[in-house]
Every structure is written in structure tokens, then in C-alpha cells.
């Protein structure tokens, strides 16, 4: 059966206490900017009854209390905001993330380079030359989904996921790149690790990254990584955007 065409934007129900403002069904940088800008208006100029906003690649989930604002009214209000939406005037934060490529945490580096027909060093060069965009934080606390992976590095996920991948692992899954924030199972391919902690509940600012940030990776050696590890463990390493 042929699916009928869907027109965007549209606002759809996610049950009785959340709805989704969908701008597209594809990944697109300009639309992700609009998602984040809409989220910002709801943070700076809140609507009563709105409890959470969750920006994702191409849609904004809005969690609400229907005893304060009904979904139909909220849909109307969000439609108005969307029509009058100005591009965000917040300048994107830029981070440079130190990465130890290869080794224990970069299990797939050599195989991935071999698959692509170049050396591991060339792969590192390509991966660290690109600028990435944090499209969304999702799945797990602080987990960063990155766009901007060079086409040549796009690689399907593993057929069989690994049971445990460490926090800080630098991954590639299809067209996407990731920085894993917590340890857990994953079917992505991993080429290195950052000693930085994307998520640390004991820190004044527990989450390093947020949707809309830009990220570059900087290769570091074991020695520098060990220094950063020490500083992070002592709670000193608070990364500032640069």
C-alpha cells in the first residue's frame, strides 16, 4: 500500500501528556536549528503547564500537564510560536574534545580503516578534521548524537552488539557519530575514547554538551590522556567551550 504524503510541520499526540512538533521526517541541520529555537522559546518564555521540552533531530517533544493546559490548546499555542519563530540568536558553543584513538577503547579502528582501504592514521585525520553538530542528547544521560561525519566514514552498525562499551567511547553508527556518556551495550563501531566525562551527576553542571553545540575532536597521546584522566578524577577538568 502506498503511504499518503505527510506535510510538515505537524503537531501529533504522544498520548495525553506529551505531543511532538514534527518539522520533518529527515535529518536536516536547518530544521534542527528550528527545533532548538522552538525549545529555547519555551524555556525563556514558558507556557503554563509545559513540563519538559525534548529537542531531537527533527522534532520537539513537549511534555505537559493536561489539568493545566489541554493538548488542543497547547497545539494551537505551539503552532503560533512556530509560525513566528525567529532563528535562535544564541551563538553555538564550540568544544574541542581530546581523543585517544585506537587502543582498548578503539577496538574497531584498524578494522574500519582496513574496510575503507586506508591507514588508521588517515582515518584519525579524517575523523578529527570534521566539525560535528550535536543534533540531540538522548537515549541515555548525556549521550551525544553527532552529525557531520564525513561521508567516507559512514559505516553500518555491527550485526551483533557488544554487551559493554565504556563511557567516553567515540563511535560511528551509520551516518552518525557519537560520544557515549555512560557504559552500556552498543552496536556502533568504536575508534577511540575521550577522558572527558560527558555526564557526571556530582558536577555542578552534570552535562557537558547540549543540542546545538559544535564539536571537534583533537587526537591526544596516552600521556596527555593520563593527565586529563587524573584531572577528571579529581573533579578539576571542567571543559569550557572554546
Amino acid at each position: 500500500m502506498e503511504a499518503e504524503a505527510v506535510t510538515f510541520p505537524r503537531i501529533v499526540a504522544c498520548g495525553d501528556s506529551a505531543l511532538s512538533v514534527e518539522l520533518s521526517d529527515r535529518i536536516d541541520e536547518a530544521l534542527n536549528d528550528r527545533v532548538i529555537a522552538l525549545a529555547e522559546t519555551l524555556t525563556t518564555d514558558p507556557l503554563p503547564g509545559v513540563e519538559e521540552v525534548v529537542p531531537t533531530y527533527r522534532s520537539l517533544m513537549v511534555v505537559y500537564d493536561p489539568s493545566i493546559i489541554r493538548g488542543a490548546v497547547l497545539t494551537h499555542e505551539l503552532g503560533k510560536r512556530l509560525r513566528g519563530l525567529e532563528p535562535s540568536d544564541v551563538t553555538a558553543r564550540r568544544f574541542t574534545i581530546p581523543v585517544v584513538y585506537g587502543g582498548q577503547a578503539g577496538l574497531d579502528l584498524e578494522e574500519l580503516a582496513a574496510m575503507k582501504g586506508f591507514t588508521p592514521a588517515r582515518l584519525v585525520e579524517l575523523h578529527s578534521a570534521a566539525e560535528y553538530r550535536v543534533y540531540m542528547i538522548g537515549f541515555a544521560p548525556g549521550f551525544a548524537y553527532l552529525g557531520g561525519l564525513p561521508d567516507i566514514l559512514h559505516t553500518p552498525r555491527l550485526a551483533t552488539p557488544r554487551q559493554r562499551v565504556e563511557a567516553g567511547s567515540i563511535g560511528i553508527g551509520g551516518k552518525q557519530a557519537s560520544i557515549n556518556s555512560v557504559a552500556g551495550p552498543s552496536g556502533w563501531r568504536f575508534i577511540g575514547r575521550t577522558p572527558l566525562r560527558l555526564f557526571d551527576p556530582d558536577r555542578a553542571e552534570p552535562f557537558l554538551l547540549r543540542a546545538g553545540d559544535r564539536v571537534r575532536f583533537r587526537p591526544v597521546g596516552q600521556e596527555e590522556a593520563a593527565e586529563i584522566d587524573g584531572a577528571v578524577a579529581a573533579g578539576r577538568m571542567i571543559m569550557e567551550p572554546a
Partner: protein, 323 residues
Amino acid sequence: MIGLMVRQAGPMVTVQDLGRRGLQHAGVSGSGPMDAPSFRIANALVANAKGDAALEFAGTGGTFEVSRPVRFAVTGGAVGIRIDDKAVRPWESHDLFPGSTLVIGGLRNAVWGYLAVSGGIDTPPVLGSRATHLRSGLGGHRGRRLQAGDSLPLGDAVSSPHLCLCTPWRSAQRFIHVVPGPQDDYFDTQAWAIFLGQPFTVSAMRDRMAQMLDGPVLRSRRGHDIVSDGTAAGSIQVPGSGRPIVLMAERQTTGGYPKIATVASVDFPRLAQTPSGRDIRFRRVSRERAEDLLIAEKLALGDALANLAEKSAILDASGDHPQ
């Protein structure tokens, strides 16, 4: 300061409060109780504030002792409870003194039980909440399920008469109400007919994160991968296997499978409390209707909590002996 000692713990006992708020954008789902009304009733029975932390257990409770006199209540379903050799009832408050042992057995016809202790469980809040988030090891007691030997601090108790919930909070109901979407249009009329027309079996593959359903296979007409979007509590996602998965309290905050529908908030705890192997049927309702049901339930719960009966009066009236 030690308050509640765990001598034996059931397989899944965690500290929960009403959950984390406002952090889904950072990848942290709310966690909190699988059956929030039962949790709130347990706290109210011991005069705790609604946001105080209590224990949630799956199936079997455990064996507990206290280092100071407390009042406690167990809710969630029918369950055998003993203080030393004396059997006591759920859905009402009791005293527990140092030197006595509280044993909470297995729930009958329910899955999630709650043990509230006067003063509340006073573990340190993490990201604004004491709720345990097992997958990320956050909150509660060291971010994990409880085990024998754990000791939990208790907050300051408020004195109150012994209380009891006289009328059962939840009545039997044939259907789990669902609101179509957000990806209802990924499923054609045939898939919808199956979804609403045939029973699904509550699988034993279940935890605080997700509930798997057995039964007929659901096929999306536009594939089973979407560009990941937000996942509300009760989302029914359909992966490539065609077997629906309902996302529960400790779900991931985003997901890449199409979601045919979302369980109405009032029926979320009802689904959570349905024993494994039991059949359920879905019934479609509009968002407006589901909102109406939720608003009505909020009022009804407020009434129930405000009108908990003093136990001695009830027992006297029924001719029963006060315990």
C-alpha cells in the same frame, strides 16, 4: 543514622520517589514508580509528603527491620505481610518496632508493590530526585537494587492516626486505552485492525524500562526505522520483529522505532500491574478523552488521599478487634 535495615530483598527492590523532572532533554528519563497512585497511597497512609521516597518491589518484597519505631504501609496489590508471627494487611498503616521483623511476601494479581516508611527513605537526592535509575546507576541506594545487608536512612516522621484505604483504588477493567500516534500513520488499516481487534499477552520479558508484548505481529508499511524522536511514557514502539514494546518508567528518552500508539496515562499503572501471561486488549481513545480520564483520576486520587479512614473507627464499626 540508620533507619531501615534490609535482611533479605526480593529480586527487584529499589528506592523510588515521584521521579526526576525536567531532564529528558539531557537524556535522563523520569524513572519513579511504575504505579504512581499506589505509591502515593502508601506514602499518605504513613503521613509522608507525596514526594517522599519509598521502596518499590517487583513480585516479592523482602525482610526488613528498623532501628527506631516507625509506621509503615504496603500497597500495590494483595500480599502476605507479617510482623514477627502476626499477619497484617496491605493498604493500611502499622507500627514496626526495633527488634521486630517485617516480612513482605509475594504479590498476588499484581506486579509492583510499595513499602512506605514514616519519614521517608532519606538517601541523598541525585539530580533532584531519590528515584533509582538502574540503567544509568543513578539515585536511590548507590544507584542499584537493594540487597541483604543494606541500611537506609529515614527522614523525620510526622505523627498521625493509623490510616487505611477502605475502598480498593483500582477496579477491574477489560481494556488498556491507547491514544494513536505519534507514528500511527506508519500502520495501515489491517495493522490497526489487528492491534485493536486481537489480544496481546503480557510477556515475562519486562522490567522498569520496557514491557514486551506477545501475540500477533504488527507490520509498518513504511519500515521499522524512523529518525529518532522523543519517547513519552507508555509509547508502544514496534521494531522490525513486529512485536510491540511498551516503554515504561525507566525508558530511554529517544528511540528510533515507529510508535503506533501511546498508553493512556490512567492505564499505564494498570498495564504495569498486569501479571505476566495475562491477555490484554487495546481500545482506542482520542487524546481529549484520555486527558479527561487523567484529570478525573487526579481528582479521584486527591479525594481518596484526603479521605483515608482512621483505622480504629473502621475496625470498631465492623465489630473487628483493633490490632
